[in-house]
């Protein structure tokens, strides 16, 4: 059997390698043969083994002491109640949107019959049932002198998107509060303005105002009435 000499044992850090089982069986036996007669190396092996055993115990305890993920989450919640509450509310809103609102918007629907609005000259207003979606058609006459040679509206340059002409539409209630508003594509010549408002209205009187742009001149105006009764046939 070979015997490792002291110099080799020191140079190769045989004590440390022995303590962590990093020597081959031949090296291990050669080193054992050496340190059985060398108190210095045996003390070194003893020290390395003691360190290794206690380090293993320390790492084991630290691994066991690590809090579980669920515990950490609860600790975070209790430590920060306001952000935690905000996070829960946000999660609930997102969940509701994802599970209820968005699926509803993607669900198929029947085509809504349109209500024809013909200006404010009529005594009896057109009626819409409160539960129905609101789709209206109204005449759209380009005012005299407002169209240039190409048939475009004056004063609506800021509403021209991608070459498409737009008009600004506003739906207001009896008190003049805007219920829905925005830019829509202007109809072609001699075509009615077909509007769909994705809102549910309470019973009452409402007015649709069409402008060339947001602050521009009024092009058309029509009123209608939302009732809780089935809509009367016009």
């Amino acid at each position: 059997m070979e015997v490792m000499d002291h110099e080799t044992a020191i140079q190769t850090k045989a004590s440390e390698r022995y303590a962590i089982g990093d020597l081959s069986s031949i090296e291990r036996e050669a080193f054992e043969e050496h340190f059985s007669d060398c108190t210095q190396c045996m003390d070194d092996v003893s020290l390395a083994s003691t360190f290794a055993a206690n380090a293993k115990a320390v790492f084991r305890e630290r691994a066991q002491a690590k809090p579980k993920p669920s515990g950490a989450f609860l600790n975070w919640l209790f430590a920060r109640p306001i952000p935690a509450f905000a996070a829960i509310v946000l999660a609930a809103v997102i969940g509701y949107q994802n599970m209820v609102v968005i699926p509803e918007t993607k669900a198929p629907r029947s085509v809504v019959a349109s209500v024809t609005l013909d200006g404010e000259t009529r005594a009896a207003l057109p009626q819409v049932k409160a539960a129905d979606a609101l789709r209206v058609q109204m005449p759209f006459d380009r005012p005299a002198g407002s169209a240039n040679g190409s048939g475009e509206l004056k004063g609506s340059e800021e509403l021209r998107f991608s070459g498409e002409l737009k008009v600004y539409v506003e739906l207001t209630d009896t008190l003049g509060n805007a219920v829905s508003k925005g830019a829509v594509a202007a109809p072609g010549p001699n075509q009615p303005l077909d509007l769909y408002f994705p809102v549910r209205l309470n019973p009452g009187r409402y007015t649709v105002v069409v402008r060339a742009d947001k602050a521009g001149p009024e092009i058309a105006r029509s009123a209608f009435e939302v009732t809780s009764q089935p809509a009367k046939t016009q």
Binding site: S25, S46, T50, A53
Partner: protein, 216 residues
């Protein structure tokens, strides 16, 4: 009893053969520790370590006191090592239900027993923890993989982009820091206190064996 630097020679062997109490005590402590370290590295159970230790010491003392003695007293440690190898081999063959294995076959490990219970203490753990906390996160992770995960060294080195020498030097420095901390607190190295119980057991074992051999 401290096991500071001690040279084996003809005089030591003669005193041990004659039953000198101080030499008996040194023999029990030194080789009790040696056999523990040797068998720990092979993950032998504590019960078997104790059996091998007693049988080894008995055979060595028999050779010295009733037999032909040793031809190379300056290599007395090597002689005890050979005896312990034979004893371990016999115990392994006796305990095995299977045919004897080749000498090159690695010993089967028993991971159910805590081999380190005798050398792990709360105080040492605190000291080792302090040493570990002084290391960089990377070095600490290397030692965690070595000691706790028992990962393959080459895998550790590849994963953390270090070589084997770095790992050995890291362990060497950590061990040295632990020794410094221990000596600072106790005025003695941990290996001296480490084997206090083993020393008592070893001495009691040698005393018992001495009485047994004289009575025979």
């Amino acid at each position: 009893m401290s096991v500071e630097f001690y040279l084996f020679d003809a005089d030591y062997v003669r005193r041990l053969a004659e039953g000198d109490p101080a030499t008996d005590a040194h023999f029990g402590t030194y080789f009790g520790k040696f056999i523990f370290l040797k068998l720990r590295s092979r993950r032998v159970t504590p019960e078997m370590i104790e059996d091998v230790r007693q049988e080894t010491m008995l055979r060595v003392l028999k050779v010295l006191r009733q037999g032909a003695g040793v031809t190379h007293p300056e290599r007395f440690g090597s002689f005890v090592n050979s005896v312990s190898n034979n004893v371990l081999l016999e115990f392994n063959h006796k305990n095995s239900k299977h045919p004897p294995m080749d000498d090159d076959t690695p010993e089967p490990f028993d991971n159910r027993v805590d081999l380190d219970a005798s050398i792990v203490t709360e105080e040492r753990k605190r000291m080792v923890a302090a040493v570990l906390d002084e290391l960089s996160a990377k070095d600490r992770e290397i030692l965690r993989l070595v000691f706790f995960e028992d990962s393959d060294r080459s895998v550790i080195c590849k994963r953390l982009k270090v070589d084997l020498d770095y790992l050995r030097v890291l362990l060497h420095r950590a061990k040295a820091k632990f020794q410094t901390a221990y000596v600072k607190k106790h005025g003695t190295s941990p290996y001296a206190a480490n084997f206090f119980l083993m020393s008592i057991l070893g001495n009691a074992c040698v005393l018992g064996l001495t009485i047994l051999l004289r009575w025979k």
